[in-house]
Amino acid sequence: MDARHVMVLAGGLSHEREVSLRSGSRLAQALRQVGHDVTVRDADDTLLDWVGAHHPDAAIIALHGGRGENGAVQTVLELAGVPFVGTAAHECRLAWDKATAKVLLRRAGFVTPRWVTLSHSSFRDMGAAGLVAAVARELAFPLLLKPHQGGSALGTALVRDPDQLPAALVGSFAYGDVVLVEEYAAGTEVAVTVIEGDDGPVALPAVEIVPPGDIFDYEARYTAGTTTYHTPARLDSELDAAVAELAVAAHRVLGLRDVSRTDVIVTADGRAQFLEVNVSPGLTETSMLPMAVATAGRDLGETYAELAERAIARAADRTAAI
């Protein structure tokens, strides 16, 4: 493999900036170890000038949340003609919106916890008390509240009874105007990384997550020693195949590209339920994608270097077609 100049985009302005900086740093180190020339930089107003001056061979987006996952940065890179690893801009928009992703997966025949999506304006304009009561009637407690966009479990809250719901909604609305209110599914939580190769998307070994409390929140994600991970997940072969199938299906159904990570809960009844998908999975020391890559016997730097080659080849094909 030729040595390439790879631009790793990290940082950003989202709530997940800190995580992104860690992901970018880890990825850069891994790519340098396999011989690539790596520049880590932020996606700011100097990006296009920098790209114009330095012409990186490929970009890898290690931005989490906001523009890094909602298609905005992908659009900029597409317009700038920079080959990049990851999902194209349009499809990012689908996957980024948690409710849209759930709808598409459910239509494809997969199970996902029941939910409603509610904006603050709905509560404001139609009466909070009535709407809260309706949510409480419609969905079974406990409920999990999530900002409908964003990751790292920021703004996620577990609500055990209706009295707690208004306060939890106020907290979640601090992260955005729309909240996904989902029935909390207890069970075995696994994260399944999907990597594309010449044979299409392939699921890596599932990573089982055992957080110290009921939810895998920010503290549990990023404080080493608090959460226990099992790699591969302690699932029987049938369930293991089911979660892999679900992750690959999510990748295909949502039109994702190169790499994704799907979060799944396996409930006591033996069903694998789709929770959400990430187009720019975390790459930190406590993130699940690097664990899955290692469990598969692969190297993180080589894996992303191969994805960068795919991106470069894709761009070359497009140019040739034109």
Partner: protein, 432 residues
């Protein structure tokens, strides 16, 4: 099959590290370093007004001419020349001290760490103002010394509350080791302890046989050029005074000091040697030569003018933009305004909204060890320009409007425990 917690040491950490965990709030502060964000969060001095070229020449000469000394190990107490100059600095606040009683440390943060180390066993109580400096609370937590907060008002620590706190602790069989106080331009409250209260506080502590740790990093930054008389100036035996060059010169050099009674000083030197061997010699010599060769008093005046202008901008913006029911302190020096919002607001819970609106502050709960401060926020005016401060407060007002609207929708006034957990809410020291 056993799982992997990703930390093979997890079962071996000392109990005092229990609170050292990742925090969503700390992560949010990461965004504050981006230029799009107006950060009213950090306490970083405005160093652009330093004579940087002349300092570069001084650093170069120092290495060239005294490199074998400047780059060598040094005294655990600090270099004598700097200790003499520190006494001259403290003389501005009425302190008559001997250089032998000064211990130079890696910032005054290290001085406080050493003081706590030599005084506090786990369970010993430290008294501190309510609110108090977040970095001090971190030290006390690390030594497992619980903090009992003592009320303060616009004139500083309330002596009667101090007396009551001491009596209450003793009635409960608890050992109080010292009072930690920031009498001038308090961090985070922005208030200054009145002269008569200093006298009264010193009397109460002396009578109760409780030492006073007087932390005074901002004392020379009074906007009307007033320099308040230190508590230590009138009580050499019962006060350990902590000073710093971080706010009056350069925090990156990490040089502070403790002035302590002889016996305490002996232990501090030994503790200092155990912790760091010696404070950095090069940095001490840089400061010593700066004090000897530069007009440092004029530099402090320049800082005062800059910070006063920014304070004015912040107060004017608060007056214009804050909602009815919000109150704030009016500092006559230092770096900080302490904002109190109307009932129902939770400054920790609304920080994500603020960061989304490109403005940052430090939630009030960071400055309490007991969960108070949910309606408060510390706003710094030291680093951003006046124009940026005005813009930042305007954005903050928009955040409050948004939060108010959501609270009105849901009927407001919720216990913060029902909201998403955000963890420790103190930023890293380099948060701009």
């Amino acid at each position: 099959m056993t799982g992997n917690s990703l930390d093979p040491y997890v079962a071996r950490y000392a109990a005092r590290t229990a609170g050292m965990r990742a925090s969503a709030i700390r992560a949010l502060f990461s965004v504050a370093s981006r230029p799009e964000v107006v950060s009213l969060a950090g306490g970083m001095p405005y160093l652009q007004s330093l004579p940087l070229e002349a300092l570069a020449a001084q650093a170069s000469r120092l290495i060239a001419e005294d490199g074998t000394v400047a780059l060598q190990y040094g005294s655990g107490q600090g270099i004598p020349a700097l200790r003499e100059q520190i006494c001259q600095v403290m003389a501005l606040e009425g302190i008559a001290a001997h250089p032998d009683d000064v211990v130079v440390t890696v910032g005054s943060q290290m001085a406080l760490d050493l003081v706590t180390r030599i005084f506090c066993d786990p369970g010993d109580v430290v008294l501190a103002e309510a609110p108090s400096y977040v970095g001090a609370l971190s030290i006390f937590a690390a030594y497992q010394a619980p903090v009992v907060h003592v009320a303060m008002d616009e004139h500083g620590l309330v002596p009667d509350a101090l007396q009551a706190a001491i009596e209450s602790c003793r009635a409960a069989g608890r050992t109080v080791k010292f009072l930690y106080t920031i009498p001038n331009f308090h961090n985070p409250a922005g208030v200054t302890m009145a002269a008569d209260r200093r006298t009264r506080v010193a009397e109460i502590c002396r009578a109760a046989n409780i030492a006073i740790i007087e932390d005074n990093p901002y004392g020379l930054l009074g906007f009307d050029d007033t320099v308040y008389r230190a508590i230590r100036a009138d009580d050499a035996d019962n006060v350990i005074y902590l000073g710093s060059f971080s706010k009056t010169f350069a925090p990156g050099l990490r040089v502070g000091w403790a002035l302590a009674p002889h016996a305490v000083r002996e232990r501090l030197v030994l503790a200092n040697e155990a912790a760091t061997l010696n404070p950095p010699v090069f940095n001490q010599m840089m400061i010593s030569q700066y004090l000897a060769n530069f007009d440092w008093k004029s530099q402090i005046k320049a800082y005062r003018q800059t910070y006063a202008q920014r304070r004015d901008a912040m107060l004017a913006a608060l007056e214009t933009h804050m909602p009815e029911g919000a109150t704030w302190t009016v500092p006559d020096g230092g770096f900080y305004v302490w904002l109190t919002l109307p009932e129902g607001f939770d400054t920790t819970a609304m920080l994500p909204r603020a960061v989304g609106a490109r403005v940052a502050y430090v939630p009030g709960t960071a400055f309490y060890s007991d969960g108070f401060g949910t309606r408060q926020a510390r706003l710094s005016f030291c680093f951003p320009t006046a124009e940026r401060i005005t813009e930042g407060v305007r954005r903050l007002a928009g955040v409050l409007d948004g939060e108010l609207e959501v609270m009105r929708t849901f009927g407001a006034g919720f216990p913060s425990g029902a909201r998403p957990s955000l963890g420790s809410d103190a930023p890293a020291p380099d948060t701009a």
